[in-house]
Protein backbone atom coordinates (compact mmCIF):
# COMPACT_ATOMS: atom_id res chain seq x y z
CA UNK A 1 0.00 0.00 0.00
CA UNK A 2 2.87 2.31 0.94
CA UNK A 3 4.61 1.52 -2.32
CA UNK A 4 1.49 2.28 -4.29
CA UNK A 5 1.12 5.60 -2.54
CA UNK A 6 4.76 6.49 -3.15
CA UNK A 7 4.44 5.52 -6.79
CA UNK A 8 1.35 7.59 -7.25
CA UNK A 9 3.02 10.62 -5.67
CA UNK A 10 5.94 10.20 -8.05
CA UNK A 11 3.56 9.97 -10.99
CA UNK A 12 1.70 13.09 -9.88
CA UNK A 13 4.91 15.08 -9.48
CA UNK A 14 6.18 13.91 -12.84
CA UNK A 15 2.93 14.80 -14.58
CA UNK A 16 2.93 18.22 -12.89
CA UNK A 17 6.35 18.86 -14.31
CA UNK A 18 5.28 17.70 -17.77
CA UNK A 19 2.13 19.79 -17.78
CA UNK A 20 4.00 22.85 -16.57
CA UNK A 21 6.52 22.40 -19.33
CA UNK A 22 3.73 21.99 -21.83
CA UNK A 23 1.94 25.10 -20.68
CA UNK A 24 5.13 27.14 -20.74
CA UNK A 25 6.04 25.93 -24.18
CA UNK A 26 2.56 26.32 -25.53
CA UNK A 27 3.85 27.62 -28.85
CA UNK A 28 5.52 24.32 -29.75
CA UNK A 29 2.37 22.93 -31.25
CA UNK A 30 2.96 19.48 -32.81
CA UNK A 31 1.19 20.63 -35.95
CA UNK A 32 3.55 23.57 -36.43
CA UNK A 33 6.11 23.07 -39.16
CA UNK A 34 9.52 24.69 -38.95
CA UNK A 35 10.28 26.90 -41.94
CA UNK A 36 13.49 28.48 -40.62
CA UNK A 37 15.76 26.45 -42.88
CA UNK A 38 14.11 27.98 -45.93
CA UNK A 39 15.28 31.47 -45.00
CA UNK A 40 18.33 30.96 -47.18
CA UNK A 41 16.06 30.72 -50.23
CA UNK A 42 15.01 34.35 -49.84
CA UNK A 43 18.22 35.53 -51.44
CA UNK A 44 17.79 33.28 -54.47
CA UNK A 45 14.08 33.93 -55.00
CA UNK A 46 12.77 36.74 -57.13
CA UNK A 47 9.51 36.87 -55.14
CA UNK A 48 8.91 35.88 -51.57
CA UNK A 49 5.60 35.89 -49.76
CA UNK A 50 5.64 35.34 -46.02
CA UNK A 51 2.43 35.52 -44.01
CA UNK A 52 2.28 34.64 -40.32
CA UNK A 53 -0.92 35.15 -38.46
CA UNK A 54 -1.51 33.85 -34.97
CA UNK A 55 -1.93 34.93 -31.38
CA UNK A 56 -3.21 38.43 -30.82
CA UNK A 57 -3.10 39.35 -34.48
CA UNK A 58 -5.37 36.45 -35.35
CA UNK A 59 -7.73 37.28 -32.50
CA UNK A 60 -7.90 40.85 -33.73
CA UNK A 61 -8.68 39.69 -37.27
CA UNK A 62 -11.43 37.40 -35.98
CA UNK A 63 -12.97 40.34 -34.13
CA UNK A 64 -12.88 42.37 -37.34
CA UNK A 65 -14.81 39.61 -39.12
CA UNK A 66 -17.51 39.92 -36.51
CA UNK A 67 -17.66 43.65 -37.16
CA UNK A 68 -18.10 43.17 -40.90
CA UNK A 69 -21.59 41.90 -41.27
CA UNK A 70 -21.62 40.47 -44.76
CA UNK A 71 -22.27 36.90 -45.88
CA UNK A 72 -18.68 36.05 -46.78
CA UNK A 73 -17.30 37.44 -43.53
CA UNK A 74 -19.76 35.34 -41.53
CA UNK A 75 -18.84 32.22 -43.51
CA UNK A 76 -15.14 32.86 -43.11
CA UNK A 77 -15.65 33.49 -39.41
CA UNK A 78 -17.36 30.13 -39.11
CA UNK A 79 -14.64 28.36 -41.06
CA UNK A 80 -11.86 29.71 -38.82
CA UNK A 81 -13.63 29.66 -35.47
CA UNK A 82 -11.09 27.36 -33.80
CA UNK A 83 -8.08 28.43 -35.83
CA UNK A 84 -4.85 29.04 -33.93
CA UNK A 85 -2.52 30.14 -36.70
CA UNK A 86 -1.73 30.17 -40.41
CA UNK A 87 1.80 30.32 -41.77
CA UNK A 88 2.47 30.75 -45.47
CA UNK A 89 5.69 30.82 -47.46
CA UNK A 90 5.81 31.21 -51.21
CA UNK A 91 9.07 31.45 -53.15
CA UNK A 92 9.20 32.19 -56.86
CA UNK A 93 12.38 31.79 -58.83
CA UNK A 94 13.34 33.29 -62.15
CA UNK A 95 14.85 30.16 -63.65
CA UNK A 96 14.28 26.46 -63.20
CA UNK A 97 16.16 24.46 -60.55
CA UNK A 98 17.48 27.47 -58.68
CA UNK A 99 16.80 25.84 -55.35
CA UNK A 100 17.88 22.59 -53.82
CA UNK A 101 15.06 20.04 -53.73
CA UNK A 102 16.54 18.66 -50.52
CA UNK A 103 15.52 21.89 -48.78
CA UNK A 104 11.87 21.19 -49.50
CA UNK A 105 12.27 17.50 -48.74
CA UNK A 106 13.37 18.48 -45.24
CA UNK A 107 9.98 20.12 -44.79
CA UNK A 108 8.30 16.99 -46.15
CA UNK A 109 10.33 14.90 -43.70
CA UNK A 110 8.64 16.77 -40.83
CA UNK A 111 5.35 15.38 -42.13
CA UNK A 112 6.56 11.83 -41.62
CA UNK A 113 6.45 12.28 -37.83
CA UNK A 114 3.63 10.53 -35.95
CA UNK A 115 0.36 12.39 -36.02
CA UNK A 116 0.52 13.57 -39.60
CA UNK A 117 -1.65 11.64 -42.04
CA UNK A 118 -1.45 11.91 -45.79
CA UNK A 119 -4.58 13.37 -47.35
CA UNK A 120 -3.48 13.87 -50.95
CA UNK A 121 -0.40 13.31 -52.95
CA UNK A 122 0.11 14.38 -56.58
CA UNK A 123 3.17 13.98 -58.75
CA UNK A 124 3.35 15.46 -62.20
CA UNK A 125 6.19 15.49 -64.65
CA UNK A 126 4.99 18.87 -65.86
CA UNK A 127 7.22 21.42 -64.14
CA UNK A 128 8.38 18.65 -61.77
CA UNK A 129 5.33 19.36 -59.71
CA UNK A 130 5.00 17.63 -56.35
CA UNK A 131 1.99 18.28 -54.16
CA UNK A 132 1.52 16.91 -50.64
CA UNK A 133 -1.38 17.59 -48.34
CA UNK A 134 -1.29 16.24 -44.79
CA UNK A 135 -3.67 16.57 -41.86
CA UNK A 136 -3.25 16.05 -38.15
CA UNK A 137 -6.07 15.07 -35.84
CA UNK A 138 -6.23 15.17 -32.08
CA UNK A 139 -9.00 12.71 -31.39
CA UNK A 140 -11.81 13.77 -33.67
CA UNK A 141 -10.72 17.36 -33.99
CA UNK A 142 -8.43 18.53 -36.74
CA UNK A 143 -5.35 20.13 -35.24
CA UNK A 144 -3.40 20.97 -38.35
CA UNK A 145 -3.09 20.97 -42.12
CA UNK A 146 0.08 21.13 -44.17
CA UNK A 147 0.28 21.81 -47.90
CA UNK A 148 3.64 21.50 -49.62
CA UNK A 149 3.81 22.31 -53.33
CA UNK A 150 7.09 22.35 -55.18
CA UNK A 151 7.64 23.02 -58.86
CA UNK A 152 10.74 23.74 -60.89
CA UNK A 153 10.31 27.49 -60.42
CA UNK A 154 8.33 27.86 -57.22
CA UNK A 155 7.71 26.54 -53.74
CA UNK A 156 4.52 27.06 -51.76
CA UNK A 157 4.05 26.03 -48.14
CA UNK A 158 0.92 26.42 -46.07
CA UNK A 159 0.68 25.36 -42.44
CA UNK A 160 -2.65 25.75 -40.67
CA UNK A 161 -2.81 25.15 -36.92
CA UNK A 162 -6.17 24.30 -35.44
CA UNK A 163 -9.43 23.19 -36.95
CA UNK A 164 -10.52 24.78 -40.17
CA UNK A 165 -13.40 23.95 -42.47
CA UNK A 166 -11.50 22.91 -45.60
CA UNK A 167 -14.55 22.41 -47.76
CA UNK A 168 -15.89 25.84 -46.94
CA UNK A 169 -12.50 27.39 -47.53
CA UNK A 170 -12.20 25.75 -50.93
CA UNK A 171 -15.75 26.82 -51.74
CA UNK A 172 -15.01 30.39 -50.72
CA UNK A 173 -11.81 30.57 -52.73
CA UNK A 174 -12.14 33.42 -55.17
CA UNK A 175 -15.04 35.05 -53.38
CA UNK A 176 -13.17 36.83 -50.61
CA UNK A 177 -13.00 40.16 -52.43
CA UNK A 178 -9.25 40.14 -52.22
CA UNK A 179 -7.24 40.79 -55.39
CA UNK A 180 -5.70 37.61 -56.76
CA UNK A 181 -2.06 37.09 -56.02
CA UNK A 182 0.33 37.55 -58.94
CA UNK A 183 1.56 33.95 -59.02
CA UNK A 184 -1.88 32.51 -59.50
CA UNK A 185 -2.60 34.83 -62.40
CA UNK A 186 0.60 33.77 -64.18
CA UNK A 187 -0.30 30.09 -63.78
CA UNK A 188 -3.74 30.68 -65.22
CA UNK A 189 -2.26 32.46 -68.23
CA UNK A 190 0.15 29.59 -68.80
CA UNK A 191 -2.74 27.13 -68.72
CA UNK A 192 -4.69 29.10 -71.30
CA UNK A 193 -1.78 29.18 -73.74
CA UNK A 194 -1.11 25.45 -73.63
CA UNK A 195 -3.43 23.20 -75.68
CA UNK A 196 -5.71 20.92 -73.68
CA UNK A 197 -5.03 17.21 -73.88
Amino acid sequence: MKMLFNNSIKIILLMMFVFTAVSVNAQQDPARLQFEKLKKLEDKAVDVIEVNIDGKLLDLAKRVLLKIKNKDAVKVGEAIKGLKGIYVRVFNFEKENEYNVADVDEIRAQLQTPGWEKLANVRSKKNNQKIDVYTMFTGDVMSGIAVVISESKSIALVNVIGPIDIDLLVELGGHLNIPEIGIEKENKQEKKEKPEN
Binding site: L4, N7, S8, I11, I12, M15, M16, V18, F19, T20, S23, E42, D43, A45, V46, D47, V48, I49, E50, V51, I53, K56, L57, L58, L60, A61, K62, V64, L65, K67, I68, K69, N70, A73, V76, I80, V88, V90, A120, V122, S124, I131, V133, V147, I149, A156, V158, V160, L169, V170, L172, G173, G174, L176, N177, I178, P179, E180, I181, G182
Partner: protein, 185 residues
Protein backbone atom coordinates in the same frame (compact mmCIF):
# COMPACT_ATOMS: atom_id res chain seq x y z
CA UNK B 1 -37.97 17.15 -54.91
CA UNK B 2 -39.17 15.56 -51.68
CA UNK B 3 -36.59 16.63 -49.10
CA UNK B 4 -37.89 14.22 -46.50
CA UNK B 5 -37.55 11.27 -48.84
CA UNK B 6 -34.01 12.31 -49.63
CA UNK B 7 -33.22 12.55 -45.91
CA UNK B 8 -34.88 9.54 -44.35
CA UNK B 9 -36.91 7.90 -47.14
CA UNK B 10 -40.19 9.27 -45.79
CA UNK B 11 -42.84 9.59 -48.48
CA UNK B 12 -42.07 9.25 -52.15
CA UNK B 13 -40.03 10.91 -54.84
CA UNK B 14 -40.10 9.30 -58.29
CA UNK B 15 -36.98 11.14 -59.46
CA UNK B 16 -34.84 10.00 -56.56
CA UNK B 17 -36.32 6.52 -56.71
CA UNK B 18 -35.36 6.19 -60.37
CA UNK B 19 -31.79 7.27 -59.53
CA UNK B 20 -31.65 4.70 -56.73
CA UNK B 21 -32.90 2.00 -59.07
CA UNK B 22 -30.35 2.84 -61.76
CA UNK B 23 -27.48 3.03 -59.30
CA UNK B 24 -28.39 -0.13 -57.39
CA UNK B 25 -26.15 -2.06 -59.79
CA UNK B 26 -23.17 -0.49 -58.01
CA UNK B 27 -24.39 -1.30 -54.52
CA UNK B 28 -22.20 -3.19 -52.09
CA UNK B 29 -22.78 -6.94 -52.23
CA UNK B 30 -22.02 -8.71 -48.98
CA UNK B 31 -18.65 -10.39 -49.04
CA UNK B 32 -16.49 -12.16 -46.55
CA UNK B 33 -14.12 -10.00 -44.52
CA UNK B 34 -10.44 -10.16 -45.42
CA UNK B 35 -8.33 -13.01 -44.10
CA UNK B 36 -6.81 -11.59 -40.98
CA UNK B 37 -3.10 -12.02 -40.21
CA UNK B 38 -2.45 -14.34 -37.30
CA UNK B 39 0.56 -12.48 -35.98
CA UNK B 40 -1.23 -9.25 -35.05
CA UNK B 41 -0.51 -8.51 -31.43
CA UNK B 42 -3.73 -8.31 -29.50
CA UNK B 43 -4.35 -5.26 -27.42
CA UNK B 44 -3.77 -5.95 -23.74
CA UNK B 45 -6.80 -6.78 -21.68
CA UNK B 46 -8.03 -3.71 -19.86
CA UNK B 47 -9.07 -5.61 -16.70
CA UNK B 48 -5.54 -5.95 -15.37
CA UNK B 49 -4.74 -2.31 -15.97
CA UNK B 50 -7.83 -0.96 -14.25
CA UNK B 51 -5.97 -0.25 -11.03
CA UNK B 52 -3.16 1.48 -12.89
CA UNK B 53 -5.75 3.30 -14.90
CA UNK B 54 -7.37 4.59 -11.73
CA UNK B 55 -4.07 5.86 -10.38
CA UNK B 56 -3.19 7.45 -13.68
CA UNK B 57 -6.61 9.11 -13.76
CA UNK B 58 -6.02 10.43 -10.28
CA UNK B 59 -2.62 11.79 -11.29
CA UNK B 60 -4.09 13.44 -14.40
CA UNK B 61 -6.91 14.99 -12.36
CA UNK B 62 -4.40 16.37 -9.88
CA UNK B 63 -2.29 17.81 -12.68
CA UNK B 64 -5.28 19.37 -14.35
CA UNK B 65 -6.24 20.98 -11.06
CA UNK B 66 -2.69 22.30 -10.76
CA UNK B 67 -2.79 23.67 -14.31
CA UNK B 68 -6.11 25.42 -13.68
CA UNK B 69 -4.74 27.04 -10.54
CA UNK B 70 -1.51 28.02 -12.28
CA UNK B 71 -3.44 29.46 -15.21
CA UNK B 72 -5.65 31.44 -12.89
CA UNK B 73 -2.63 32.86 -11.13
CA UNK B 74 -0.96 33.69 -14.43
CA UNK B 75 -4.06 35.46 -15.69
CA UNK B 76 -4.27 37.48 -12.51
CA UNK B 77 -0.65 38.49 -12.82
CA UNK B 78 -0.93 39.38 -16.48
CA UNK B 79 -4.03 41.51 -15.80
CA UNK B 80 -2.01 43.48 -13.30
CA UNK B 81 0.65 44.26 -15.88
CA UNK B 82 0.90 47.88 -16.88
CA UNK B 83 -1.13 48.72 -20.00
CA UNK B 84 1.99 49.71 -21.86
CA UNK B 85 3.03 46.10 -22.32
CA UNK B 86 -0.21 45.22 -24.03
CA UNK B 87 0.33 48.01 -26.49
CA UNK B 88 3.84 46.84 -27.36
CA UNK B 89 2.55 44.27 -29.80
CA UNK B 90 0.32 46.83 -31.47
CA UNK B 91 3.34 49.09 -31.89
CA UNK B 92 5.12 46.22 -33.60
CA UNK B 93 2.17 45.87 -35.93
CA UNK B 94 2.35 49.60 -36.67
CA UNK B 95 6.01 49.28 -37.57
CA UNK B 96 5.19 46.55 -40.05
CA UNK B 97 2.33 48.52 -41.47
CA UNK B 98 3.36 50.52 -44.51
CA UNK B 99 1.26 53.53 -45.36
CA UNK B 100 0.33 54.48 -48.91
CA UNK B 101 2.88 57.32 -48.91
CA UNK B 102 5.70 54.87 -48.34
CA UNK B 103 4.63 52.94 -51.43
CA UNK B 104 5.47 55.91 -53.58
CA UNK B 105 9.18 55.41 -53.11
CA UNK B 106 10.61 54.92 -56.56
CA UNK B 107 12.38 51.69 -57.30
CA UNK B 108 15.33 53.51 -58.89
CA UNK B 109 16.04 55.43 -55.74
CA UNK B 110 15.92 52.40 -53.51
CA UNK B 111 18.10 50.43 -55.90
CA UNK B 112 20.76 53.09 -55.67
CA UNK B 113 20.62 53.45 -51.93
CA UNK B 114 20.34 49.85 -50.68
CA UNK B 115 20.08 46.46 -52.33
CA UNK B 116 16.45 45.42 -52.33
CA UNK B 117 15.75 42.19 -50.53
CA UNK B 118 13.03 40.17 -52.26
CA UNK B 119 10.81 40.26 -49.18
CA UNK B 120 10.77 44.06 -49.26
CA UNK B 121 9.29 43.93 -52.75
CA UNK B 122 6.51 41.66 -51.69
CA UNK B 123 5.54 43.78 -48.73
CA UNK B 124 4.21 46.20 -51.32
CA UNK B 125 1.94 43.57 -52.77
CA UNK B 126 0.71 42.57 -49.34
CA UNK B 127 -0.16 46.11 -48.33
CA UNK B 128 -1.31 47.72 -51.58
CA UNK B 129 -4.94 46.55 -51.55
CA UNK B 130 -5.62 48.22 -48.20
CA UNK B 131 -7.68 51.06 -49.55
CA UNK B 132 -9.65 48.67 -51.75
CA UNK B 133 -10.44 46.33 -48.90
CA UNK B 134 -11.39 49.28 -46.75
CA UNK B 135 -13.99 50.26 -49.35
CA UNK B 136 -15.14 46.71 -49.80
CA UNK B 137 -15.47 45.86 -46.14
CA UNK B 138 -19.00 47.21 -46.04
CA UNK B 139 -17.73 50.67 -45.08
CA UNK B 140 -17.04 49.50 -41.53
CA UNK B 141 -14.61 51.84 -39.86
CA UNK B 142 -11.49 49.96 -38.86
CA UNK B 143 -8.34 51.13 -37.16
CA UNK B 144 -5.06 50.70 -39.01
CA UNK B 145 -4.18 47.76 -36.81
CA UNK B 146 -7.52 46.08 -37.44
CA UNK B 147 -7.19 46.66 -41.17
CA UNK B 148 -3.72 45.15 -41.18
CA UNK B 149 -4.82 42.12 -39.17
CA UNK B 150 -7.81 41.62 -41.43
CA UNK B 151 -5.73 41.91 -44.59
CA UNK B 152 -3.12 39.50 -43.30
CA UNK B 153 -5.81 36.98 -42.42
CA UNK B 154 -7.51 37.33 -45.79
CA UNK B 155 -4.17 37.07 -47.55
CA UNK B 156 -3.35 33.86 -45.66
CA UNK B 157 -6.80 32.39 -46.30
CA UNK B 158 -6.73 33.32 -49.98
CA UNK B 159 -3.40 31.61 -50.51
CA UNK B 160 -4.52 28.58 -48.49
CA UNK B 161 -7.77 28.22 -50.38
CA UNK B 162 -6.11 28.70 -53.76
CA UNK B 163 -3.58 25.99 -52.97
CA UNK B 164 -6.29 23.63 -51.73
CA UNK B 165 -8.28 24.36 -54.89
CA UNK B 166 -5.23 23.52 -56.97
CA UNK B 167 -4.84 20.21 -55.17
CA UNK B 168 -8.53 19.45 -55.58
CA UNK B 169 -8.42 20.19 -59.32
CA UNK B 170 -5.34 18.07 -59.75
CA UNK B 171 -6.85 15.12 -57.92
CA UNK B 172 -10.22 15.45 -59.66
CA UNK B 173 -8.59 15.92 -63.03
CA UNK B 174 -6.56 12.75 -62.64
CA UNK B 175 -9.61 10.87 -61.37
CA UNK B 176 -11.71 11.96 -64.34
CA UNK B 177 -8.93 11.12 -66.75
CA UNK B 178 -8.61 7.63 -65.31
CA UNK B 179 -12.38 7.13 -65.25
CA UNK B 180 -12.58 8.23 -68.88
CA UNK B 181 -9.77 5.85 -69.83
CA UNK B 182 -11.43 2.93 -67.99
CA UNK B 183 -14.88 3.58 -69.39
CA UNK B 184 -13.53 4.19 -72.87
CA UNK B 185 -11.79 0.85 -72.86
Amino acid sequence: MNEEYLWDKTGKDPEIESLEKALSAFRYKETEPPALPSNVIAFKSEKKSSRKGFLFGLAVAACLAFVVVALGAWLQVSNQQPKGEGLAEMELIKENFVSEDDLKIKEDETNKQTPIKPIAKIRKAVVAPLSETQARSNKVKLTKEEQYAYDQLMRALTITSSKLNLVKKKVQGEEEQKTAVKEGS
